[in-house]
Amino acid sequence: MTSLDHLVLVSALTLALMLLFGRMRIAGRLAVVLYAVQFLLLMQTGALLGEPVASSLTLSVLDLQMHWRYDALSWFFAMITIGAGFFCAWYAAGVWQERYREEGHSPRLFHVALAANVLTMLILLGSGDLLSLFIGWELVSWASFLLMAVGGGPAGRAALRYLVYAFSGGMAILAGLMLIYTQTGSLDYARVLSLLGELSDGQVWLLLLLIGGGFAVKMGLLPFHLWQAAAYAETPGPGSSFLGAISARMGLYALIMLLVAMLGIGRLTAMEVPFTFLSARDLIAWIAALTVIIPTYIALQQHDARYLLAWHGIGQGGYMLLGLMVGNAVGSAGGLFHVFTYGITQAALLMAVFAVVHRTGTADLNKLGGLVARMPLTFLVLLFGIISLAGLPPMAGFVSKWMVYRSLVAEGMPLLFVAAVVGTLGTILSVYKLIHNIFLGQLRIEHEQVREAPLSMLLPMLGLSTLIFLVGVTPGPALSWVAAVQASLGLPPVPYTLGGIEDPRGGLDMLWLVGILMAGFGVGALIFFGLGGRSKRVHQLDNYAGGHFLTADVRYQYSDNFYAGLMHLIGPWYRGAFLWLEKALTATVAFLSAVMNGFYRYAQPALFVLATAVALLALTTA
């Protein structure tokens, strides 16, 4: 029994206990404790800095050996996974769970689904060969499907859509694995690694298309992004947080295994896209950049807070891949670090939004407003979250995005840089819409009696936002993990300090930056509160309306079509091309299906028999 075995066993135990006791009220707290234990066990494995930790379990099927091990990369992702599980279980443990039960859902199913997700992700992250990777992959896919589908109703439809995407992706991966298998005769990492170099460019392209495409589905990379928003948004609160924080990143993990660990950035750079001047790496980087831009601007159009954040989740995945594809020390560190910073950010954001849903019963941005007066702490969490999501100082998201930008500048990739900034600007626009329409502006009359989110939900939210801020101020410790991951992947490790990045050509020191920002705020406060006279808060209806008398029953809030001017310009650019593509595919399947049905409904089947017999006989004599 190695430490990895302990970890997986405790995770499996969590699942079993949730199955047994999930119905009881204590289940939530039990889950929290168990996730904490898992976290401690993970810390004890020492996979981050030391040698990879192997599991004592091995299997062999069809002469294919399967084994499991944890290296720094696995540790890093596992840390985020368990952490997300911990916070989400905490969020769910108290009042949320009771409400969930009252609404006629089964908290047991939810806890089981969450535990299953964590367990399967841990298994996936430990995969030591391609077969176990695939198995882990499928397990994760179905576990996420379970978590998505527990909501029922629209969640079921979204989950089904996810399932079709994920399963098609899984099948593509299987095809790709078979390609590898036929070429190398093995699915073991080490052996595959040594033989991959002998593959022709065409085969590698095929591999990228099949396996990369399959993994990209989970990550929501561009042509495969349509499923994600609805599936994540419709999942019950903490589940949505969990999925948003880490689930899609499993795709990134697998892509890292494929692109960085197995093929290597160098190989990708060497491969030319036919008839263009792009290399494979540029192509992937551009896919990543488009994944940043397009979903972000789709998010801008949403008027459901959950959907808005879920769409951003897709977009932020693009930054991670973009940073990795830049491939230098700072860039790849930025990509990896963004997994962490974005994970805590998205978890906090979705928790805050679901706290609002918990209290008001709606996530429709056109039906909220002014809640800052009623839910100030939730507002604070959301504020920290959006600053981090938009990548503004002093929050965690800034550091990782800064690293991505910095690497793009250093490598001289202007268009990608602009694309990344366009994405960030879109993010700023839409997160402002988010916080404005929920928390700022006029408090609606039906929300007069709304109270702050319950403590059991508030505490994990506050914990996460503290983390966001702390990581933003002192990214050093977290960057040390990233550096270890880079080392294990064979990438140049990032030169980090406690406050940021050391670079003679322009580094970053968040300690100074945050210090001066706080000092600036201090000066601002001094000027504002010290020099100005006393102020009096007034009622929200005491407001300039061109001399009009406002009443509570008339909304005095600007929320629908928030960026009307911008939409005037870019509105027609939303062509729904991918949706169209999806519909076309569905229609093709439907058409094929109708044709096949027609075949079986044909009135004179004897004709088929005859035709086939003739065809076969002709074949044999030919």
Binding site: P154, A229, Q301, H303, W311, N561, G576, N597, A606
Partner: protein, 174 residues
């Protein structure tokens, strides 16, 4: 040109019977004709079997009949063909019985009509909408139902409708 032996003629005849039967099954529009075509085809197959054991000039393989030392026709296929004929007749009888019952229920033995009626019947029994017949006229299609979200206000000033929760998915045009 190769000269035709008797065997050859019979062989061609047997194959021809099968082909005629098969074609008859494939193109006839009436179930009973189909059955008759099947009978033809079966005879062809039986003939083929008998032929497989036939030797030119050999005597019948019956003890005490003809010259016991002379070459005999292979008896096995003849035995087999007996079995095959019996089976064939049994199946045909069953088929005719079924046809009678079918005619009583549906009042037709026309293949297409029958197929459509049966489809409708199956669909009704399963409680689903039957697929449109291949031969049904294309006109008179019902208008598509009004989408549910069209009647629900999407929010904004002054538009108050029944508020669905959770709200409709609102990917307008991603």
């Amino acid at each position: 040109m190769m000269s035709l032996t008797l065997e050859g003629v019979v062989l061609i005849g047997a194959l021809g019977l099968i082909v005629i039967g098969a074609l008859g099954m494939a193109i006839s529009n009436h179930l009973f004709r189909m059955l008759l075509a099947l009978v033809l085809a079966e005879s062809g197959a039986n003939l083929l079997i008998v032929l497989s054991g036939y030797r030119v000039g050999a005597s019948a393989p019956i003890l005490g009949f003809g010259d016991p030392t002379a070459p005999m026709v292979d008896p096995v296929p003849q035995v087999l063909v007996l079995t095959a004929i019996v089976i064939g007749v049994g199946v045909q009888a069953l088929a005719v019985a079924l046809l009678l019952k079918v005619y009583r229920v549906y009042g037709t033995l026309n293949v297409r009509e029958l197929r459509d009626r049966m489809d409708a019947d199956v669909a009704t029994a399963a409680g689903v909408e039957a697929d449109a017949s291949q031969d049904a006229p294309a006109g008179e299609r019902p208008l598509p139902p009004v989408p549910a979200h069209a009647s629900v206000g999407s929010g904004g000033f002054g538009r108050r409708g029944p508020v669905p929760f959770p709200p409709q998915s609102d990917e307008r045009r991603p």
